[in-house]
C-alpha cells in the first residue's frame, strides 16, 4: 500500500513504517521561534533539566513580529532573545531581516525536513516538501533541547488542482476558495497535499502562499511534492545541493480527494471575521476601504511586489486611502528596489515598511481605527487581529489589494489589468 508525502517523510525520519493514525517520535531538522513566542519558549527551555541545544546551527530565533520594537517591553524581550542567541550560538535573524517563514524558505528549509516552529504559519515550508508544522512554546522548547518531537501521522486530504489559472487569479484565490469550501476546521489534524497540473505548474512563491494558509483550514501541514520547480527555487537560493525529490506514491491512501478547477476560479475575498467567510471579489458590492496592506508571510514576496508595482505604476492611490506595503525579507526588499517596484509603489502614494510582520497582528505599523476597513493580503481576519476589535479586515490577493488601492473600494483586479 502506497504512502502520502506525510507518511513517507515521517517513515524515513522515525525509522518505522509510519501510517496515518500512528504516533511517532522523530528527530527535528529545524526548530525556530519568533519574538512573540520566543521569550516563553526560552523560559520553558530554561526550566528544563537539560539546558543545551541539541543543534545550535539548526535552531533559529527571529525578531520579526514587532520589529523594530514599538515599545519598551518588547524591546526588553528582544534583548532577552539576543542574549539567548549569544549564550547558545544559535542562529539569530534580527529586526529588519524579515518574516521568519520567508527566511526559512529562502535559507533553511529543505525537502523532507521535519520543521517545528513556535508560530502557526510554520506550515509555509510545506511548499518545499518539508513536514513543517506550528507548535506551542513547550513543544518547541523540548524540540530545541532534545532535538526531537512526537507527531501523530496525519490523514491526508488530497487537493487536485486541474487546468490553469486565468488572468488575475492565482494561489491566494485558490486557497481562499478552498478554505471557504471546507471551512476553518475542514482539515483539523489533517495534512493537505496539493496535486494536479495547476499545483505542479505553480512556482514556489505561489506554493508558499497556499501552504501558508493550510493552517486556516486547521491543517497540520500543507504539502507540495518536491520536484523540478523546487529544485529551481533552491538553486536560485544557492542551495541546489539540498534538493531531493519527494512525491506521494501513485497508490497512496487519501482520506478524501477534492478537485478544484483552476480555470473556474475567480478573485476571492475573505470577509470579517473569519477566513472561511469567503465570496468572489466581484460579488461584494460597494465596500469602501481605509487601508490596504500588501505583505506578510502570505503575500510579501518579490513577485507580489512586482504585481503590485505593475498595477500601481503611473497611477495614484485613491485620495484618503493608506496603502502599506511590506516586503517579507531584506532580500526581497533589495531585489524590489533594484527592479524598480519600490519606486513605482512610492510614486503611486504607497508607504513602504521595513521587512517583518508589520501590522498583521496588531502590534504596530497599521493598527486600525474604530470602524475602519482594511483590505489585507495577510492570512487572518479575526476580530481584533489588527489591534482593534472595532476594525474590519478583508483578505485577498495582491492583485485585488493593489487594484482596490486605486479605486478605494474592494475591486476585482481584472478591471485594472
Amino acid at each position: 500500500m502506497g504512502k502520502t508525502i506525510s507518511e513517507k517523510i515521517l517513515s524515513v525520519k522515525s525509522g518505522s513504517d509510519a501510517r496515518a493514525g500512528d504516533i511517532v517520535i522523530c528527530p527535528v531538522d529545524l526548530v525556530f521561534v519568533q519574538d512573540t513566542t520566543g521569550p516563553l519558549t526560552i523560559r520553558q527551555f530554561k526550566s528544563g533539566k537539560k539546558q543545551t541545544l541539541a543543534a545550535p546551527h539548526r535552531t533559529a530565533l527571529f525578531i520579526d513580529h514587532a520589529s523594530p520594537s514599538p515599545n519598551r517591553q518588547l524591546s526588553n524581550d528582544h534583548i532577552f532573545i539576543r542574549e539567548f542567541a549569544a549564550e547558545t550560538g544559535c542562529l539569530l535573524f534580527d529586526a529588519g531581516s524579515g518574516v521568519c517563514h520567508q527566511i526559512v524558505a529562502e535559507r533553511l528549509a529543505r525537502p523532507g525536513d521535519i520543521i517545528v516552529g513556535a508560530d502557526s504559519h510554520t506550515v509555509t515550508a510545506g511548499a518545499l516538501g518539508a513536514f513543517a508544522t506550528g507548535m506551542g512554546s513547550s513543544d518547541v522548547a523540548v524540540a530545541m533541547s532534545l532535538g526531537k518531537t512526537w507527531l501523530r501521522v496525519p490523514e491526508t486530504i488530497g487537493i487536485e488542482v486541474t487546468g490553469k489559472f486565468s488572468r488575475g487569479v492565482g494561489a491566494k484565490d485558490l486557497v481562499l476558495y478552498l478554505i471557504g469550501m471546507i471551512g476553518a476546521d475542514g482539515a483539523t489534524y489533517k495534512a493537505l497535499e496539493f496535486t494536479g497540473s495547476a499545483a505542479d505548474d505553480m512556482p514556489v512563491w505561489q506554493r508558499l502562499t497556499v501552504s501558508n494558509m493550510a493552517v486556516e483550514a486547521g491543517a497540520k501541514v500543507g504539502l507540495f511534492r518536491s520536484d523540478k520547480v523546487t529544485e529551481k527555487y533552491l538553486k536560485l537560493q544557492g542551495r541546489r545541493k539540498e534538493y531531493i525529490p519527494i512525491a506521494a506514491d501513485a497508490d497512496a491512501v487519501y482520506e478524501r480527494m477534492i478537485t478544484v478547477a483552476a480555470d473556474q476560479l475567480e478573485p476571492m475575498v475573505a470577509m470579517p471575521h473569519a477566513v472561511d467567510n469567503t465570496a468572489t471579489a466581484g460579488s461584494l458590492g460597494e465596500i469602501r476601504v481605509h487601508q490596504v496592506f500588501i505583505g506578510t508571510c502570505t503575500n510579501g514576496r518579490l513577485e507580489d511586489m512586482a504585481q503590485a508595482a505593475s498595477i500601481l505604476k503611473n497611477k495614484k492611490v485613491r485620495s484618503g486611502i493608506r496603502l502599506i506595503v511590506c516586503p517579507a525579507s531584506s532580500k526581497i526588499y533589495a531585489e524590489s528596489i533594484k527592479a524598480g517596484h519600490i519606486q513605482a509603489i512610492i510614486e503611486a502614494g504607497g508607504i513602504i515598511l521595513p521587512p517583518g510582520c508589520a501590522g498583521c497582528l496588531g502590534l504596530h505599523q497599521g493598527v486600525l481605527g474604530d470602524g475602519e476597513v482594511c483590505l489585507s493580503t495577510a492570512n487572518r481576519n479575526f476580530k481584533g487581529r489588527m489591534g482593534n476589535p472595532e476594525g474590519l479586515i478583508y483578505l485577498a490577493s495582491t492583485a485585488t489589494a493593489a487594484a482596490s488601492a486605486l479605486t478605494g473600494r474592494i475591486t476585482d483586479p481584472r478591471e485594472a489589468l
Binding site: T37, S47, Q73, M135, S138, D139, G362, R380, K383, G384
Partner: protein, 168 residues
C-alpha cells in the same frame, strides 16, 4: 495517577473562538509579564470574563476552539484565570496540544445542553461530566493515552523533567 474532580460554573462561548479573542496579539508586550497578560484573558469575547470567573470554573464552547496562532499564552492565561478545564465540541490542533502541555484539560464533548452558569462536576478518570444544575451527565472523548501521560504530569515540561525523554 488519579486526577482530581473539578467543580465549577460554566462560562459559555460560541463557535470559532480564536486565539486573538482568547488573548489578543496587541498584548504581546505583556507576554513577559504573565500576571498582567492574564488580566486580558477572553477579553474580546467576554470583557467581564476575568472579573467573573472563579477558581475551578469551566469554559464551555462550540466548535474549533482556539483556532489561529500557536501562542501557548492562550491556554496559559485561561489556566491563570482559574479555569480548571475547557469543554468544546472540537479544538484547533495547536491549541489542543498547548492546553495539554500546560496541564489544562481540553475535553471534546457535546456542549449544547450546557447553559451559562450551570454547575458542572468533571471526573477525568471516569470520563464523565455531571451537570448538577440540570441533573444530567455527558461523556467526553477520551484524551489519547500519549497526551494523557503528559496531562497527568501537569504538562510537557514537568513530564520531560521527570522522565528525561519523550516516551509515548
Amino acid at each position: 495517577m488519579a486526577q482530581p474532580i473539578h467543580k465549577g460554573r460554566a462560562f459559555k462561548f460560541g463557535d470559532g473562538i480564536s486565539t486573538d479573542l482568547i488573548i489578543a496579539g496587541k498584548y504581546a508586550h505583556l507576554r513577559s509579564n504573565l500576571p498582567e497578560l492574564a488580566k486580558h484573558a477572553m477579553e474580546d469575547a467576554n470583557p467581564d470574563f476575568v472579573k467573573l470567573v472563579k477558581t475551578g470554573d469551566f469554559i464551555v464552547a462550540g466548535s474549533n476552539f482556539g483556532l489561529g496562532s500557536s501562542r501557548e499564552h492562550a491556554p496559559l492565561v485561561i489556566k491563570m484565570a482559574g479555569v480548571s478545564a475547557i469543554l468544546a465540541k472540537s479544538f484547533a490542533r495547536i491549541f489542543f496540544r498547548n492546553a495539554i502541555n500546560q496541564g489544562l484539560p481540553a475535553l471534546i464533548c457535546q456542549t449544547d445542553k450546557i447553559a451559562e452558569g450551570d454547575i458542572l462536576e468533571i471526573s477525568l478518570d471516569e470520563g464523565l461530566i455531571r451537570n448538577i444544575t440540570r441533573n444530567e451527565s455527558y461523556s467526553f472523548t477520551r484524551i489519547p493515552p500519549a497526551m494523557l501521560n503528559i496531562l497527568n504530569e501537569g504538562g510537557l515540561i514537568p513530564y520531560i523533567n521527570r522522565h528525561g525523554d519523550l516516551k509515548l
